[in-house]
Symmetry: C2
Subunit: 328 residues, 2 copies
């Protein structure tokens, strides 16, 4: 017997406690090639809100009456799979519950990087990998580059800032409001753009008077247009998300998009899951940076399975600084 | 004494005859290492519109009261330069005039590819090289790809269509009006989008029901937005020019730009001059395709130096099919 959070109804607008239900479930028999995992840490992430809508995206929607899913770190308590033994810590996608029976191909044994296990749900997980591959691979950022990153106080952006500094780049981060800008500065950013204090283009032109070589885009909209305007020749944009457009019914408009041609700008959209086969490389490099303290990971920890929806809802209420986690 | 077109005033929006002035000029003395060239063919190209604005770009702006410049094929009539003799046909940048005295390093003797000399202003010149490097290098188009090209009846677009077909791709071309669409079909395009007959997005969705792998962008605007909407995963866009924006003071707006992320679209701006060091490769491959008839070069020829501005303005009024040339 295990307990798992189910989607009781689809939220319209901001989700509430009413959309979630904690129910007892029977776990399947432990077949060959499977493991039973007791969860220790659960991840709650903004993207899960999208899966609560019944729309096609790069991950399928959650179904009403079915258990929710999400990243989790757990301990193997029973194994019928080669290479996995009781006591092993594993990363898997059967979160939002206390225990799961899963096929071995659905779990990844945590590599021994000398870091706390919950780091694999944040800076050493999807968030960190998004920053890592987006900056270094998609945008081909290299030492000496002037890197602009939007939403620099967010989960991904705050890692991009630290990675850029660790790699000898100049980092310019945008955030909304003085507190968040202070936080971005504390991460090591050379310059900060407060997008609430005035037009992004004007602020960015002041923060990066020589222009930018790289733009790590988390928001689209006028941040993206400012990046077009200030891109140096052969600038590279990693297109990670366009939050500005998600809730805006008006089409985005760009005054400087034609600079793509003259400045030979390269834009490339990416999804971190495309880099699954290169996680070893990520663990090796990022593990060192985290272990050495060059990249720090802020966490907000909520205790207890029963508080998982509250942790999730807190993401939309500013309850977290850095990665939001549930500890079981 | 020679006659040369000068920039009389900077156009705002669409240029008019009033912006141009034909004036007599004194040619400089023929010094050592220089040649006197009598122009036979002049090229007029959309990019020249950009040079009429007083803004920094990849080529410096034209200056008011100064002669205009552009590609030209001429015949050497007097030479004080080694390796160039009267009768030689050369390619150079002192167009918009009947005669020029230029340093030998500013001219290129036409290679002997067995084709008419004006071809070096089109399919074997900048326009052909733009199509060639844009499609095969910038967009990494490969056999089997579904290629969408805008302004497919234009100088660059018509070569893109033929190159795509010669390389085993599916070609979808857009053009304005039934006549131009017929022309694009005659080039071998599998499907044609008439952008005057209805919204580009709707027409393109019908012409390319499985989506597109490559977009060769000559126009920006709603063509680009339709390409965002219909791009398949890992689509590649070669951003060659945004003619829709050249004369339009309003910012371009895009409803589907956020598909860059989910579909992992790559956009790359380019300028053909970046490929100068690879012209041998281009002459070798394209020379064969032109000589064999696999790639045909349509031309619209306007006669007489005095009609050069009209030829140029015609580019923005759909007056040309294929390469627009002025014959002296």
């Amino acid at each position: 017997m295990a307990r798992a959070w189910h989607l009781k109804s689809r939220p319209s607008g901001m989700p509430t406690d009413e959309n979630f239900e904690l129910k007892d479930i029977d776990l399947p028999q432990l077949g060959d090639g499977m493991v039973r995992v007791r969860n220790r840490w659960l991840s709650v992430d903004p993207y899960m809100r999208g899966r609560m809508n019944d729309v096609k995206s790069y991950v399928p929607p959650f179904q009403i009456g079915e258990p929710l899913e999400g990243g989790a770190v757990g301990e193997v308590v029973e194994s019928k799979a080669d290479g996995l033994a009781p006591g092993d810590l594993v990363l898997h996608m059967s979160g939002w519950r206390d225990e799961a029976v899963v096929p071995a191909r659905g779990v990844n044994k945590l590599p021994d990087l000398g870091v706390e296990p919950q780091k694999f749900l944040g800076v050493l997980g999807v968030t960190g990998a998004t920053a890592f591959f987006g900056l270094l691979d998609v945008a081909s950022a290299k030492p000496g580059d002037i890197v602009f990153v939007s939403a620099a106080a967010g989960a991904v952006g705050s890692v991009v800032v630290q990675l850029a500094k660790a790699k000898g780049m100049t980092a310019v981060g945008s955030a909304g409001g003085a507190d968040k800008c202070d936080f971005v500065r504390s991460l090591g950013a050379d310059q900060v753009v407060d997008y609430r204090a005035g037009p992004v283009l004007k602020s960015l032109a002041a923060a990066a008077p020589d222009g930018i070589d790289v733009y790590f885009d988390n928001v689209g909209g006028d941040h993206l247009d400012a990046a077009f305007a200030l891109a140096r020749n052969n600038a590279r944009f990693a297109m990670c998300g366009m939050i500005a457009g998600y809730n805006d019914p008006n089409p985005a408009s760009f005054r400087f998009i034609m600079r793509i041609v003259a400045a030979r700008i390269r834009l490339k959209g990416f999804i971190v899951f495309d880099f699954q086969s290169r996680m070893d490389e990520f663990y090796r490099e990022m593990g060192q940076l985290v272990a050495s303290g060059a990249v720090k990971a802020q966490e907000t920890v909520v205790e207890g399975l029963e508080n998982t929806p509250d942790a999730f809802l807190g993401l939309f209420q500013g309850a977290n600084t850095g990665k939001m986690l549930v500890k079981l």
